[in-house]
Amino acid sequence: MTRVLDDTLYALLLFVVALVVVFLLMPLVITIGMAFDARDYLGNFPPRALSLQWFKHFFSDEFYMNGLTTSISVAVASTVLSTIIGLTAATALAEGRFGYKQALNTLFLSPLVVPSVVVGFALLLFFSKIGLYSGFLPLLGGHVIITLPYTIRVSLAGLVGIPRSVKEAALVLGANEWRAFFTVSLPLARTSIFAAAVFAFVFSMDDVAVSLFLSSVNTYTLPVAMVGMMRSHFDLSIAAAAVFMMVVMTTLMLCVDRLSGVNKILAGD
């Protein structure tokens, strides 16, 4: 009797998992399908013929390309800054000899908890207060802030994974703390640091909420351009843009996964 119950529950479990998979994949499948639609108007799924016209449209549209250029420059700059600042903060948290480390750690991760709309609005107020209205620098600042929790977290995971004895070995063998960091800790944490950089890049490219507040007429990111496009004249170039973003992000994430395992990093150990 109990066996029947167990089997039924197990079947139910598989069913729920299958539902979740379908629910997660359906929107992606529809978006990808529609991006290759040969029709000129927004028709029903699935498309009857395939074409690359929406991609051509996407890559030749000045509005999109301007957004893409901004997105990439902001993402590259914020990745560099966020990785360096994140590594510095993580080193302090891993090696520092001071109190309130836990509190500091929580503070560093707080942008994860605060809704990005709030961060965006607050930053808008802050930047206009100091005379920096929208534009590249505010966008960069915003993106550094939203990517920092990831770069700190991921590089910290790499640094704390280094056995204490290995770092002590470097010291007792005659390397000062500075050299021990560069010859032992840094090389041993390099995969994590690389992963941190990729995370920063991906989350910067992906952001809408903060960018929406900090964009201007001339300086806006690709996701902001997509939102704008959706409001003004909705067509399937948005799907093409989405597919393009998806391909870039997935490729990057697969790179990191190959190197160190995204799941391991997200689980935090």
């Binding site: 056995p163 004895s165 290995v166 002590e168 070995a169 470097a170 010291l171 007792v172 063998l173 005659g174 390397a175 000062n176 703390e177 050299r179 010859t183 032992v184 090389p187 041993l188």
Partner: protein, 366 residues
Amino acid sequence: MDTPSIVLELRNVVKSFGAITAVNGVSLTVVKGSIISLLGPSGCGKTTLLRIIAGFEDPDAGDVLLGSKNMVGMRPYERNVGLLFQDYALFPHMTVQKNVSYSLRHRGVDDAAAKKRTAEMLNLVGMSDFAGRYPQNLSGGQQQRVALGRALASNPELILLDEPLSALDAKLRLELRTELKRILKTAGSTAVVVTHDQEEAMTLGERVVVMEKGKIMQVGTPAQIYECPQTRFVAEFIGRSNWFGGTLGGKVGEHRELLCKGFATLLIPEPKGGHNVYDACIRPEFIEVRSRGQAAGENRGGVANTIHGVIKEMMYLGSELEFIIMLEGGQEIIVIERNSRSKSRQRGDLVTLSFMPSNLIVIGRE
């Protein structure tokens, strides 16, 4: 004759962590070329002492002299001390060669000299053929050798070994014990071995320092520590022991009577100190076993203590037999006999035990 120079001197070293005093007034000198063992149970302060000598911890009070320079407040890289870590702590991203030459690169040795010294060290530890390998592709014993070569490369004034053999399996441990001693002697190193394993301490160390609760209990050669422990703690910590407690009786020849309540009067060597109650200890291998009624064997002429008992448990260990014997008073003792195949003993056999008074260790009860 010139006296050997002192490499390490600890003067009244004290170190506390919060309410716990890990090291409580330790003074010790180590002369050039000697190997000493710091032996004690976990939490006795030996590891803290090692970390103080290496420079990872600063003592709250006292001095740490290396050569004749006071090292208190000096960082680890400002001293020339080698450390063999318990987990070896090899750099996983460097080859064996790079691991061994690490200290040379950071202590400003020029490239040619460093290369020569690295080759010498790899040869000394027998790892020349593995110079290009990464640590994760080496066995535990090989990693141990590389770690030792790395620690010795900068020719440290003193080398510290933290539980050097505990991470290895039993067979490899025996092999490396001899090898470790040979390497240290060849390199002319002055070494401090920290261990909780008495066998490791006695085989590696020419002198053994027994520690408990942050204090040194006794310093001596392995034989002195084993045969003449000065406290019950040392006697019980090193080797196995059987204890008989009693009050002093009259003098019998050169011996003294110990009146053990309930089962026997033992003859003991004349004890020191004016205590009322004494504990006498006999090591299991110093007790001779014979079947009840059988005449005493080659009893080297002297007076022997004789007690009776019955075999309660028997363990066959190959080279020796271990018995738990219940004495007439109900006390149980451990006896070890060499396996000679001619004697067959069984559980329940009545036996007579004898041991020489001179083999008894007598300690006054506080």
